[in-house]
Symmetry: C2
Subunit: 186 residues, 2 copies
DNA sequence: CCTGAATTTTACTGATTGGTACAGAATGTA
DNA sequence: TACATTCTGTACCAATCAGTAAAATTCAGG
């Protein structure tokens, strides 16, 4: 039986969770070896560039996931309304109803964002662009669509911050529901 | 000529800026001594509890600033509409039109939030509560007011994340303007 | 000037940091 | 079996970490 994925790929989700929990600086190699079960030797074998390469790999993985599970439907103009609703559902699931941190957002406000500027920029730019595209398919003009897309993407990020700050994930769920209603009644 | 403030107080804004830029883990004592001009000895003289006490002092300072310059007007029901607009103006000024990080928000999504849970919780809770109070004075019922207050506070945080992520502070300014219009036409 | 407290400088500690080197174990292949 | 490649555990490195201790200095009040 052939292994479908290499071990490098298997480790990326674990790395993602560690960086989510501790941030870039906070995620020490000691913690990483603990959580992944890989010694330093293995870690540097798979990621010769060290922590920086690990984060880059995690960002690429996240980007790919969103491309497949979130952005693809938005970019397809066949049924824009249910595509947006589906995006909000996927988002709710991905962020575990507000109890999971957005790693890209967390990196964005950290000073290490300067080491991954493109990955961070692209993630949000693609989200806004595809969402705005779907909104245009619903009859909004270019600036309306872009403005609402920015509002929704920012609202999601803010809800994640707020939910975590006051320790009440319900705030995130409420936010998602609010945007859903707004789209449905569009 | 008597000095009005102790040097401890003078240092707190500098500390705030360092923590904003580097986060809790990223702000090493070396960086802090650099930026404040105080050696380790002086730092530990003023803040015997080390970095943790420094952050606590910064959070208290921020909290006091918002209480005076933002929340006070919201809590006073004499002119709720202009109080909210004033809050949005103060917020825009404080966050330098989106180019300044919200330290409380940044700490909230970091794992060090567990060391300052009350300060973080109180900051956002007080913001939401006073804003909801002002909205009730504008005729909204309790749940409407709370929901919109949460939406605005979260929207502000999200706009800060997004503005920084795609390196476009304009997004923050737009967000503030959007909420202003929404309040004015209420 | 003297005294004592406040403050700062300096030197130091032990622990931990990210990263390297490399021997050898495991694995796949012929 | 034999060989080459991939992978991993371990020891090690210099740098940096937060924090301590105490001498040196500054400074205000009497």
């Amino acid at each position: 039986m052939t292994r479908v994925v290499t071990e490098r790929l298997d480790v990326i989700p674990l790395l993602a969770e560690v960086f989510r929990e501790h941030g870039f600086e906070g995620a020490s190699l000691a913690i990483i070896t603990d959580r992944t079960g890989l010694g330093k030797g293995s870690l540097y074998h798979f990621f010769p560039g060290g922590k920086e390469e690990m984060v880059a790999a995690v960002l690429a993985d996240i980007s790919a996931w969103f491309e497949t599970n979130v952005f693809a439907a938005l970019a397809d103009p066949s049924d824009p309304k249910s595509a947006i609703v589906g995006m909000l559902d996927s988002t709710d699931a991905y962020f575990q109803s507000g109890s999971r941190v957005c790693l890209v957002g967390a990196l964005a406000i950290d000073h290490v964002r300067d080491r991954f500027p493109d990955a961070i920029k692209d993630y949000f730019a693609r989200w806004i662009d595809t969402l705005a595209n779907a909104l245009r398919c619903l009859g909004q003009n270019r600036s309306e669509a872009r403005s609402l897309a920015e509002e929704i993407v920012a609202g999601i990020q803010g809800a994640l911050v707020l939910a975590r700050a006051i320790d009440d994930p319900e705030i995130f769920t409420t936010t998602i529901r609010r945007y859903k209603n707004r789209i449905i009644t569009l």
